[in-house]
């Protein structure tokens, strides 16, 4: 019996390795292209100082990041459908959930990889201009708390870039999951990209309504959530709220909490759900 279990585990690992390797071979051009463009853009903006470094970070981890998410999410399933290799893939002894999960995992890894490399390129560009300071973060955070920390960090360019990078990457990865799962139904890449653009715009509009509501009522997001305003509940649980929190520093107190909640709701839970061997909902949604 233990032999059997071990054998089955080894086989499962081989299947996963095969799925991931294929994904990497098929999708790596997206990673290389995305990395070159985003890194070049961020490094260029920071080196040339056409805009301030905070503005550059907002641009890269905001709109450019969202385009990158659409770029990574639209391709993996729809391109296989358009090429009709999807049918070859799903007749293998592997479940559609596993296929979807492998593609999702590769997308997240590529997204995070691109953002890490872009941030390093940005830091290099800053250092090339002589910006070298890296203040004592932990001491300030311990004495002044998270809200003051966010404001304070913006006065230190390299530190603020790193903060933006961490929060922005988590936010984009959170948005990647629902977008990817929704686009897994698209029949071709053009339709998927179009769908991704529309969905992203819709979520951003939704967020703006939520934020302005929270601003007008003057309440902090978490308090408003507790007092059960449905708009704001949606806002705090939306996949890109960490990013929006950081550009609305008034509410940064709840940043760590929101980050954790978002990661659980938008990454851990879908991962667990889709990964179950018999997620009928996913099979039904993705179809054949």
């Amino acid at each position: 019996m233990p032999e059997d279990v071990r054998g089955a585990r080894v086989r499962r690992q081989a299947v996963w390795a095969a799925l991931l390797r294929k994904e990497w071979c098929e999708q790596r051009w997206r990673f290389f292209l995305g990395t070159v463009v985003v890194s070049g853009l961020l490094a260029g903006l920071l080196r040339a100082q056409i805009v301030s470094s905070v503005e550059a970070a907002v641009l890269i981890y905001g709109p450019v990041g969202l385009i990158l998410v659409i770029f990574f999410a639209a391709g993996p399933v729809s391109s296989e459908r358009a090429d009709r290799t999807w049918e070859f893939l799903v007749v293998q002894p592997v479940s559609r959930s596993e296929v979807i999960l492998a593609k999702w995992a590769m997308g997240v890894v590529q997204l995070i990889g691109t953002m890490v490399i872009a941030t390093l390129a940005g830091l290099l560009a800053m250092w090339s201009r002589g910006i070298r300071m890296m203040p004592d973060v932990s001491e300030f955070y311990a004495h002044n708390g998270p809200e003051a920390f966010v404001t304070w960090s913006t006065t230190h360019p390299s530190l603020s870039l790193c903060t933006f990078a961490i929060v922005g990457t988590i936010a984009l990865a959170c948005w990647f999951t629902p977008l990817y799962l929704l686009l897994a139904r698209a029949r071709n890449e053009f339709a998927a990209t179009l769908g991704g653009v529309f969905l992203t715009i819709a979520v951003l509009l939704w967020l703006m309504v939520g934020i302005s509501h929270a601003r007008n009522t003057g309440a902090n997001w978490f308090a408003t959530l507790v007092t059960a305003s449905p708009w704001v509940a949606m806002t705090i649980l939306n996949p890109i709220s960490p990013f929006l929190l950081i550009i609305a520093p008034n509410d940064a107190t709840w940043l760590p909490l929101v980050l954790v909640v978002d990661v659980i709701v938008w990454i851990v839970f879908p991962l667990w759900y889709v990964g179950r061997s018999s997620s009928r909902l996913v099979e039904k949604w993705v179809g054949v």
Partner: protein
């Protein structure tokens, strides 16, 4: 159902897509070790049934089992134990032949490397060639290799020769027959061309508009269905007989394709001037009579 001699069991399977009833209660049994021909025009529901057998799609009603496993319960178990080859299979064009074989092998616990290598030699496939650069014939041979190299007990071929030119079709069929003959595997061979599977099948089922309209041993079918040509005494009155699949009148002569010759012989003899001519039919003509002739059968 638990009979181990039954490799594929299908019972009253139904499936609809929107308003369209694709399968309207299909039942059939495929005996272990036999070669079963599954015939139907394009769009008859062949692929839908196969998708259900592979656990890719769920039936609305009815049951099925493949090698004793219910595909709606353990689809992966079914897929690991059968060999499947689709119509017009498209594989990863960017992979090389050897790479693709290696990649697919990861999914099957029972993959036989030596067999895969010898099949590759026999099928004259170059391991270093890009899959995308293969001809259609080579692509189907590669798909056949992938379907057989894990030594499956049951092989499902879904119209494997669709879209091949006559030479490639003949080559592929020769490979299919050569590889399967002495392996003792059960073969479920779906096709829209009867002459293609006639020489190799033990039994055939004809699927038409979502129903099995005939399921019989090939010899019995050939024995049972004949064409009768006669000169009628009264040409104005078309015969109203059971078992007539196809009826054509030309130049004062009637040509009928009938099922169960002996049962209609007395009635036909009585209305003919001069005797009956009974002709053998090949399976294509029989298939045509069942599927196409059906629409033209004179109604009482």
């Amino acid at each position: 159902m638990n009979d181990s001699r039954v490799a594929i069991h299908v019972e009253n399977l139904r499936k609809h897509f929107g308003q369209r009833q694709v399968l309207r209660g299909v039942s059939l049994d495929v005996m272990a070790g036999s070669i079963f021909g599954f015939l139907g025009l394009n769009g008859a529901g062949k692929t839908t049934l196969i998708r259900i057998l592979l656990g890719l799609s769920r039936a609305d009603a009815g049951q099925c089992s493949v090698g004793g496993i219910d595909p709606s319960v353990d689809a992966l178990g079914v897929r690991a134990r059968i060999g499947y080859m689709a119509e017009n299979q498209t594989m990863y064009g960017w992979m090389r032949v050897g790479q693709l074989i290696e990649w697919v092998s990861r999914f099957y616990p029972s993959w036989d490397r030596a067999l895969a290598a010898s099949l590759r030699d026999q099928m004259r496939l170059d391991a270093d060639e890009k899959v995308g650069a293969l001809s259609k014939g080579q692509t189907s041979r590669l798909a056949l290799l992938l379907a057989l190299a894990h030594r499956p007990g049951i092989v499902i071929l879904d119209d494997p020769t669709l879209g091949l030119d006559p030479i490639a079709r003949r080559d592929l069929l020769r490979d299919v027959i050569g590889q399967l003959q002495d392996r003792g595997a059960t073969v479920f061979f779906s096709s829209h061309l009867l002459y293609e599977i006639e020489p190799i099948c033990d039994r055939i089922a004809i699927l038409h508009e979502g129903r099995i309209i005939k399921c019989e041993a090939v010899d019995e079918l050939r024995e049972n269905v004949k064409r009768i040509v006669l000169k009628p005494a009264d040409a104005a009155r078309a015969p109203d007989l059971p078992g007539v699949l196809d009826f054509r009148a030309q130049d004062g002569q009637w040509s009928l394709t009938v099922e169960g010759v002996e049962s209609v012989r007395p009635a036909l003899t009585s209305i003919s001037r001069g005797g009956l001519t009974v002709m053998d039919l090949n399976l294509d003509e029989i298939f045509e009579a069942y599927v196409i002739g059906r629409r033209e059968v004179p109604h009482a």
